[in-house]
Amino acid sequence: MTALLLHRIHFAFTVTYHYLFPQLTMGLALLIVALKTVALRRNDQRYNEAARFWARIFAINFMIGVVTGIPMEFQFGTNWSQFSRWSGGVIGQPLAMEGVFSFFLESAFLGLFLFGEKRLSPRAHWASAFMVFLGSWISGFFIIVTNAWMQHPVAYRVLPNGVYEVTSFWGLLTNPWALLQYAHNMSGAVITGSFVMCSVGAFYLLEDRFPEHGKVFLRVGVIAGLISCVTQIFPTGDLHGRYMARHQPAAVAAMEGLFSSQRGAGIVLIGQPNEEKQTIDNPLAVNDVLSFLIYGTTKAEVQGLDRFPRDQWPEPLPLLFYSYHIMAGLGTYFVLLMAIAAFLLWRGKLFQTRWVLWPLMLSFPLPYIANTAGWMTAEIGRQPWIIYGVMRTSEGYSKYVSAGNGLFTLLGFMGMYTVLSILFIVLIYRIMEKGPLPGELGHAGKHASLTFA
């Protein structure tokens, strides 16, 4: 394996694993605020108990998100030093702001939220939950600003010594790419949060344990789920896709498997890209749809990969094609499932309709897959550039860190994350087993943990 490929896999592996956790905590943070709000408004203890239950799940996910997140910031320097050296003045800025504006906020108020329920008034405790939500969503924003600049560099210039500098701080923060990507990404995080909440709710109802809490989970999860699944496609996905078609046409052509430019381009629903023959094998396609989705008219021409030199094609191309199709396919399924569930909830029949509770319980892994596939689409689509159109990925990695050293630490991370995953599953199982106990302390209180989790 070449050093370049190893450094790419190193970052891809650690960031993919890391993002399994923040996508849930960012989504859950919003849902916990919703639960606390209902509890406060209606003075309904079930909602407070539900919030406490989800706070336990949140705390473990947050902890793993934190410890797996630290390596991400470091890896810009350790594995991508050439990239950091030239662009640090631009992207170091949002990364530093994430630490200063978000991590301090989150860590301080998470402590209050988890430890302080008895010391704080209900309103102050609600506020601490809100601050945790705010902190995690600010954190997401700065990360998206960083990534968006790599996808669509704006508001910068190159100084005589070769270093990139921000010319407009405001321009960096309001990069249109960042705003679209942020909306799309956060909506995706709420989908994960909602599906996980629905899943546990459906499990408790099907099992007939804690049914009252299960209903609370389902009610909040289905409503948030329907809203986020719809906004995921329209407007956020739609706008982001069109913007991408304008600024990264090669990436869109590869995502759609469009090898040659076409008027009235069709959309391929399923198929296997064949790079040698430059066709899609076994395509299942719908005519004209792609032109319509991008340009609003079925006659418009969509640029295919033939318009771009081979060394500007994203690679690995098939993986990009599949990531995008998995994301879009799952997104469609999410809307269908949540629409049915929401309809039944509205008619008051959801809690008895087992054929809907079953898919709700089983579907929780799918948003994780969809979010991961979405990020793979964005990141592979950006290739072969580390800063789109400006710096190639092959120019960005640490030249003096050999492949052997890269593999050593990659294996180290794989081993460590395997152990973390096992511990995580055991602990989540225990929390599910204990369930949201009613009453003041329940038996969870007797052995209350002294720290966060």
């Binding site: 030093s81 003045g89 860590s107 988890l114 430890f115 010391r119 050293n405 989790a453």
Partner: protein, 348 residues
């Protein structure tokens, strides 16, 4: 601008060492001071609500370093690759052990995470000390401004040093003892009865070791880098800083003998700050000196970001620090006083 950002990053790193320093110290002392399960829980509870926030100082200083001095960030992080990766793994293990310990009521489970908490805290303290020593000693920078250091070579401070040599190991030991003392003094403030007594006794005993190591480390630094004293000689007023080191050491000893726990902890804060600031004065205006040709030193002007970046950075940095300090005041006030075992939350 370079001067300002040099010292802003230095201040953030000092804040990191003062804050995370005491919870690393608690980790080092955890197996020795706590004898019973309740005492172990008390020690963890003393840092429980704050350790995570303390660690944020490391991330925030890393980020600030990244945008203010990108070349330094790129060169140092890739050059110390292996050591940094080990630090990351230790941070992961440490965070996990603090949070996971209480999740199960199984003795073996808790003992395992106690052990992991100790090992990771101790090694982190040593690595941080060694890291500072590496920066003082210098690294073999090439003409691109990069280097790559193996973990060790022949343990000598030669032209081809490893990350660990006799000098950086000494730095690691100084940090280990200094943070253990810092942690003990913090525990003396936060706990009562037997645990507090043991923490005080430890601090008194370890104080002698720390004083001896401090005295050794100064001439060692001058042997390793003859130019350490250049700034001191041109600005004699800076000798105040080493003087502060000595005075604060004396204060630690005096206060801890007379039960002035808070004052002893404050003295320890001054000691750590003075040690770090002293090193920074010796370094300035270099950020990462070359162990060979001085022309290859990574200096402030070489590594500094563009002017607009830094101007804007100053504005949000000031605002962000103000907010961060506010949160710290809120949290430390909420959890002020001695720790006890009754729960403040609902069983998380």
């Amino acid at each position: 601008m370079g001067f300002i950002w040099f010292w802003l990053v230095a201040v953030m790193l000092v804040a990191y060492v003062l804050f995370d320093g005491f919870d690393l110290g608690v980790g080092i002392l955890h197996p020795f001071l706590a004898r019973r399960e309740e005492e172990r829980q008390l020690m963890l509870r003393a840092i429980g609500p704050v350790w995570d926030g303390n660690e944020v100082w490391l991330l925030a200083s890393g980020g600030t370093l990244y945008f203010a001095f990108p070349l330094l960030y790129a060169s140092a992080f890739s050059g110390f690759y292996l050591a940094l990766m080990i630090v990351l793994w230790l941070l992961i293990m440490r965070g996990a052990s603090i949070e996971l310990r209480m999740q199960m009521e199984i003795g073996v489970w808790r003992s395992f995470f106690d052990g992991l908490f100790f090992i990771s805290s101790a090694l982190l303290a040593i690595f941080f000390g060694a890291a500072l020593a590496n920066v003082i000693r210098g690294v073999p920078l090439n003409e691109d401004g990069y280097f790559f250091l193996p973990l060790w070579t022949n343990w000598r401070v030669g032209p081809e040093p490893g990350i660990l040599d006799w000098y950086s190991v000494l730095g690691g030991v100084v940090a280990f003892v200094a943070l253990a003392v810092h942690g003990a003094l913090y525990l003396a403030v936060k706990t009562e009865d037997a645990l507090q007594q043991r923490a005080r006794v430890f601090a008194r005993w370890a104080w002698g070791v720390l004083a001896a190591l401090t005295v050794i480390s100064l001439p060692a630094s001058i042997i390793v880098r003859g130019d350490t004293l250049v700034n001191y000689k041109s600005y004699p007023v800076t000798f105040v800083v080493p003087l502060m080191v000595v005075l604060s050491l004396v204060c630690i000893c005096r206060f801890s003998r007379h039960g002035g726990d808070r004052m002893a902890f404050a003295s320890s804060c001054i000691y750590l700050s003075a040690m770090l600031v002293g090193a920074a004065i010796g370094l300035y205006p270099r950020l990462l000196p070359s162990s060979g040709d001085a022309a290859r030193d990574i200096t402030i002007p070489k590594a500094l970001s563009g002017p607009h970046t830094l101007h804007v950075g100053l504005a949000w940095w000031a605002l962000g620090m103000l907010l961060a300090l506010t949160y710290f005041v809120i949290v430390y006030r909420m959890f002020r006083g001695k720790v006890s075992l009754d729960s403040g939350g609902y069983g998380h």
